[in-house]
């Protein structure tokens, strides 16, 4: 198990602040953050490529905060693979074994085994310049895994791969994790986090601002930043009003959200997921249903089909399919209603 206790590190104008984190054995932990959020710096501290100003790094009940990088048995795979260009694939994978002066026969056997596991045994004699991004990534993984690391750190390992290579590598990483390898994977890609993580943390400006299971983090984002990562684009800052025993959140543009039974304060942020919203040509009635009138201002293709922007004073973003569009005879300029249940509203207080 890895435990980070109150880790802080100042790097020029940027600082990692009070990082506390626990990653249990066999965990696939994804640390999500934008570039410049401090996620790579944190990985490098865990690997031993830098030392924290304060705090402790505990791995398997040993304090490794000041331990030499060579003695930590924490493997890191860099975003750019860092495959040695002056060595063949074999030379790269064999590099850590040669450092330990292992016999040639043993090196050959271990390299072959690692290459088989990564499905790169056919490129062992090639030079890195002739390899694709996916192959380079597998070489870097094989080279790190051959050292039997207690912890595998992946720095944006999928970010420069195309979709099909990405899927192959995700499968490989999932299998690796299933076989017991503890993995910490930093990425800016929410999709990677959803498809790989057992547990996810969100890092922003050098702080981990939320940590939990994938469901916990993405269904109950702690703030606007995390919500954006969860693909939520419908944000509304509201003040709370009470009328006839009912609570409403009212936006600056006077849109009223029913908030019965929901605990909310003034200046709260209401989030509604795009796929929780439906569009209709008529007004719907319902005790818990929010129905808001607006005008279709834009319809654009999206990864979910079509994204419809509806201007109701504030903007709503709704995902629909092409057949939904046909059924609704939806066109830009149409008057429509957006409908969503109040249970689909997430409230973030104190923004």
């Amino acid at each position: 198990m890895l435990r980070l206790i109150n880790i802080s590190r100042k790097l020029g104008d940027f600082a990692l602040k009070d990082i506390n984190l626990e990653v249990s054995d066999g965990q696939y932990y994804v640390l999500l953050g934008r570039s410049g959020s401090g996620k790579t710096q944190l990985l490098e501290l865990i690997a031993g490529l830098g030392h924290p100003d304060t705090g402790k790094i505990i791995l398997d009940n040993e304090d490794i905060t000041k331990r030499r990088i060579q003695d930590r048995r924490v493997g890191i795979v860099f975003q750019d693979y860092a495959v040695f260009p002056h060595m063949t694939v074999f030379g790269n994978i064999a590099y850590p074994l040669k450092l330990r002066n292992e016999p040639k026969k043993s090196i050959a056997e271990k390299v072959e085994k690692a290459a088989n596991a990564m499905n790169i045994n056919h490129i062992l004699e090639r030079n890195p310049e002739k390899l694709s991004g996916g192959e380079l990534q597998r070489v870097a993984l094989a080279r790190t895994l051959i050292t039997s690391p207690r912890l595998l750190l992946l720095d944006e390992s999928l970010s420069s791969l195309d979709t099909s290579l990405k899927d192959d590598l995700k499968r490989l990483l999932r299998n690796l994790n299933k076989s017991g390898q503890t993995i910490i994977h930093v990425t800016h890609d929410y999709g990677d986090a959803i498809s790989l993580a057992k547990r996810v943390g969100v890092i922003h400006n050098g702080r981990i601002i939320q940590d939990g299971s994938v469901d916990e983090v993405f269904n109950n984002p702690a703030n606007r930043f995390v919500a954006r990562y969860a693909g939520i684009r419908n944000f509304f800052k509201v003040n709370i009003v009470h009328e006839n025993g009912l609570s409403f959140g009212v936006t600056e543009h006077n849109i009223r959200f029913k908030l019965n039974g929901v605990s909310a304060e003034n200046n709260s942020l209401l989030l509604v997921k795009s796929d929780a919203i439906t569009i209709s040509n008529q007004e719907h009635e319902g005790k818990d249903l929010n129905t808001i009138k607006g005008k279709v201002s834009e319809i654009i293709p999206s990864e979910f089909g079509l994204e419809v922007t509806i201007d109701a004073g504030d903007l709503f973003f709704v995902n629909i399919s092409a057949s939904d569009r046909q059924k609704l005879c939806l066109a830009e300029g149409n008057r429509v209603w957006v409908n969503f249940n109040q249970k689909d509203i997430v409230v973030i207080n104190g923004t």
Binding site: I69, Q70, Y81, Y95, L99, E129
Partner: protein, 269 residues
């Protein structure tokens, strides 16, 4: 388009003039050297000894000083320290110093009364008028070429590769010898060749330290001042040809090594 074309022609013309300025005196020297005089010079034992001395002393000086200069270049490329710019300035100093002044400064250091001279005397060597003294003079003026080229070579090696090697269990020494040095090799060889060539052509500093034994530039000067241009010319041609052969040989060797390495910048930046 037309403007660009005229501009290109003007650039070509100016470039040709510069090239001509370099080649014309050399070509003139080759043309004005008679075959008989040249063949006689080739057979001249004094010329042989002088050219050979120049080559091996410059090569030895480059090789010996590279033991310290290459790690120094790595230090400049990789480490931050408070007086780094000042140190960089000191390295470039021999380039701007008048070489005779450099020779005078060095003479004070290596003469029998000087610090290094005393140590050498203790070992039974008088550095003045000795190949070792010549090597020191050559190195003094040519070291910046090796250090600067090597420093640029180390700086171009992505740090990520060194970090990856450390993470795989390599010590800092292993990282230097298995990652940094092989990847910066191309620039180091270039610096090596430049230092060797610059050392070989040095006259000002060497003539102060050692008139005898005569290195080729001193021999050429001596022949010119004692017998005139016609006597100095064949020795100059011979020295230039031998030096060129040596340099081309070294370049070819380094090119062979170059092919083994690839440019890592595109992958790792």
């Amino acid at each position: 388009m037309r403007k660009n074309s005229i501009f290109t022609w003007i650039v070509i013309l100016l470039s040709s003039l510069v090239l001509l300025f370099i080649l014309a005196p050399l070509a003139g020297m080759f043309i004005h050297t008679g075959k008989a005089e040249f063949l006689e010079t080739i057979k001249d034992k004094e010329v042989h000894q002088s050219v050979w001395l120049t080559l091996w002393v410059s090569f030895a000086a480059t090789l010996l000083f590279s033991i310290g200069a290459v790690p120094f270049a790595w230090l400049l490329a990789r480490k931050k320290f408070p007086v780094k710019n000042f140190v960089q300035g000191i390295i470039d100093l021999p380039i701007v110093l008048p070489h005779t002044a450099a020779g005078i400064a060095l003479l004070g250091f290596i003469s029998r009364d000087g610090f290094l001279g005393k140590i050498a005397s203790f070992l039974g060597i008088n550095l003045v008028n000795h190949p070792a003294g010549i090597a020191l003079a050559m190195a003094f003026v040519s070291l910046p070429f090796l250090i600067n080229a090597s420093r640029d070579g180390f700086a171009a090696v992505p740090e990520r590769l060194e970090k990856a090697a450390l993470n795989l269990g390599a010590s800092h020494t292993k990282v230097f010898f298995t990652i940094s040095l092989p990847l910066a090799w191309r620039s180091i060889i270039t610096g090596f060749v430049m230092m060797f060539a610059r050392g070989m052509s040095e006259f000002g500093a060497v003539v102060i330290i050692a008139y005898h034994p005569m290195i080729a530039p001193v021999l050429i000067y001596e022949r010119f001042s004692s017998y005139g241009l016609n006597y100095a010319r064949p020795a100059s041609v011979f020295f230039i040809l031998v030096a060129l052969l040596f340099l081309i040989g070294l370049r070819l060797l380094s090119l062979k090594r170059k092919e083994k390495y690839i440019n890592t910048d595109a992958q790792t930046d």
